[in-house]
């Protein structure tokens, strides 16, 4: 790391100074490297409080920095500062850009084009499987940016992780994990993709950190796709930030009145682009679109019964097993067998309560 980078790393990582003071110090110092060397000269002109007495000893500044650098190394993490080469340019034009980001995993992903896919934790099954497919297709052109939560975020992770084009931004330190049940998933991302966080390694999750994290999700990306959002979903914060920062907003349409999608429909009303397939996003960015997959009607690998049930599902949306049975002219337990076969083949998904829908 350069002296400038170390200066910022010390300023943000080793002191308890608030963001505004840190920014003022940085402006006063002109060159961040000076902070380490001559902090005691710069501080009095910026900080007009007893805090100005802190961090005056040069030796302890360097030893604190050394401890942090060692810890980052032992945790296999790295730090990206506002003066680093690979600091994402797109972050510079957002509200309160972070001076320092901690990362773990494939650092090269910071140089790629990025697209954000988010969804609430109560994303319906069909939207999860849709999100998975779309994340997979987009990850050929973009690095997918998302969180680490269940539901929509997990769908994006599952779709994009195989290609490795995945950045997951955490609302807590890299050493922590929220939700705790996703520890294994977090490790997988660290190995295959990239984890980012603006918080110190051991910082636990706070209520406000989700808001701050969501601004980063939007800031890092060219566009944001919202898979699901309730009326007051946190996903809407990401979408609003994106609109504010001048990013493109995309949303999945929902049936009117569907609680899990009210936010998505609102976004579309306000001007977000309606998305029903990956092509909608790819063509928006003038990217090459792969020929569309053939429709179920001529899928050769389905038995006649499976095709019939598949068509019923395709025409009817989310349906109850007994309704499917009626429309397909089969008995309920026969339909159960066909549906489970379609599910295993990846054409149908369970929506809960004995209801099914096609897998996208």
């Amino acid at each position: 790391m350069t002296q400038e980078e170390l200066g910022i790393l010390w300023l943000v990582g080793c002191t308890d100074l608030d963001k505004r003071t840190a920014a003022a110090l940085l402006r006063a110092a002109k060159n961040p490297a000076r902070l380490l060397e001559e902090y005691e000269k710069i501080a009095p002109s910026v900080i007009n409080s007893p805090d100005a007495r802190l961090y005056k000893e040069r030796g302890s500044r360097f030893s604190a920095l050394e401890t942090l650098v060692k810890e980052l190394k032992s945790e296999d993490c790295f730090a990206v500062t506002a003066v680093s080469d690979d600091y994402p340019e797109s972050l510079r034009n957002i509200a309160a850009p972070p001076l320092l980001l901690y990362g773990k995993g494939n650092r090269a992903l910071l140089k790629k084009r990025r697209f954000c896919i988010v969804g609430s934790r109560v994303t319906p099954q069909w939207a999860v499987s849709f999100g998975k497919d779309i994340a997979r297709e987009l990850s050929e052109h973009f690095c997918i940016v998302t969180g680490l939560a269940e539901g929509g975020d997990s769908a994006a992770i599952e779709g994009a992780l195989p290609s490795g084009n995945l950045i997951s931004v955490l609302p807590c330190g890299l050493h922590e994990c929220y939700p705790a049940s996703h520890v294994a998933l977090k490790e997988k991302i660290a190995r295959g993709g990239l984890l980012l966080s603006e918080y110190p390694l051991h910082e636990t999750v706070k209520k406000y950190s989700f808001h701050e994290r969501n601004r980063l999700l939007a800031g890092l990306s060219e566009g944001v796709l919202v898979l699901s959002a309730g009326e007051r979903s946190g996903t809407l914060i990401t979408a609003n930030c994106a609109a504010e920062f001048g990013r493109d907003v995309f949303a999945l349409p929902y049936r009117p009145g569907e609680a899990r999608g009210i936010g998505c429909n609102e976004l579309i009303k306000k001007g977000a682009s309606l998305v029903t397939k990956a092509e909608d996003i790819l063509s928006f960015y003038n990217l090459e679109v792969k020929p569309e997959r053939e429709e179920g009607a001529d899928r050769p690998d389905l038995t006649p019964e499976e095709r019939k049930v598949y068509e019923v599902l395709r025409d009817g949306g989310e349906l109850h097993t007994s309704v499917i049975a009626e429309r397909a002219g089969l008995r309920v337990f026969e339909v159960a067998a066909v549906l489970s076969s379609l599910e295993i083949k990846g054409f149908a998904v369970k929506a809960g309560g004995n209801r099914y829908s096609i897998a996208r």
Partner: protein
Amino acid sequence: MISTVTCFALAGLEGVPVTVETDVNKGVPAFEMVGLPDAAVKESKERVRSALKNSGFQFPVVKVTVNFAPADLKKEGASFDLAVAVGLLKASEQLVGANLNGIVFLGELSLDGSLRHVRGLLPILISAKARGYTTFVVPAENAGEARFLDGVTVYPMKTLMDVVKFLVGAERPEPVRPVRYVPGARGESSSDLKFVKGQPMARRAVEIAVAGGHNLLLVGPPGTGKTMIARCIPTIMPDLSFEEALEITKIHSVAGILGEEGIVTERPFRTPHHTATTVSMCGGGNRVVHPGEISLAHGGVLFLDELPEYKRSTLEALRQPLEDGKITISRSGGSCTYPARFMLCASMNPCPCGNYGSEKLTCTCTPAEIRNYRRKVSGPLLDRIDLQVEVDAIAYDDLTGEAPEESSKDVRERVNGARAIQRNRFEGESLHTNAEMGERELREFCTLSKECDRILRDAFERMQLSARARARIIKVARTIADLDQSEEIMPRHMFEAVSYRLPEFR
């Protein structure tokens, strides 16, 4: 003078002969009891004293010693009263000319000399008959239990005086007349599948579960009819055979919950509340081991409503009996084995608020809450539940619709058909149903075609199932094929069997 009288003690479901020896000696008046009697047996002294006096006999004012042999077996309960009283009368020479040899006396005495009901008469009669005893004197209240056993002469008696009259030959009472067993009449009961509106998936799952003796989990929001469906299970189970009825009656007799008719003619449906302790569920007790709910449900259904609310330790204790069909309980006083071959039917909500997966209502639970709620039921226990089915909220139209649903009787006919196939299949083996098959039988009777094997493998990867779950899916597929009267397990059977696993309930 010394007298010896035979009676029986209970050890689990076995009757053990106990000889009551009474010795009357000159000396300081006293009444000693030896041979490990418990408090209830010791108290019989006072009951016997009053019963003798109030029946017009003398309580001898001499030194009396009563010995219960074998001396090392712990004796409990009040069923020795009659034997003690008769022994005392004989020893004090108030019963002249009576021959007590070969007669087994059972009964509790009340202070006025009448005989009271005893627990566990049927298992005692069966054990005693096997040991060559054929003549019994029992309380009249217990006569019902003796009706179904032939080859024994059982005299039901109302009072101690009646017993004495019989022993001295003054009266010839009528022994219990044997009756032929008839399975319980299934009249118009309040639980019948025809009253269950809609729920085609759950109906089908119940049918399969009963046909193959599989365990069943019903998952659904509150008020969707989970309990109602579960209550219908006994109505579609096959009739009890005499042997089964006798086995169940033995357990119920030992537990002291047998009704007037003296034999269990309908399959038990036990619904222990979720506050049940492990001991009440599995059986146990201080010195004498009492059967628990799982043994009382033997041959029938154990219904656990609101499964996650049960104590974890209680549920885990069910794992071994679910595999073995019996439970061995060990206490310092000894161990005993009770049969516990029951069908487990459990119900639960999909999440704490109950609305998860509902079409109209919104679930307010966080994913973590849902996970914690479901985690209360352990994976190993869920593995043992072969059929997991969602019971969903019913549309109002379905609820009031007049269209008749299939009745329990019709479903039972199909179940009986499938059971008949299984009886043929397991002829000469100790198995009854598909669910009891072990690895060897699986290999022999459930050969899978290439196609079925592939389906299973796909499902396996998709749902990350355990090896046990795999075996259980095959067994369910076998039962579905039996219901379909199909010799071979077809892909459609396998697909249906796979659909009864809820992957989110791993």
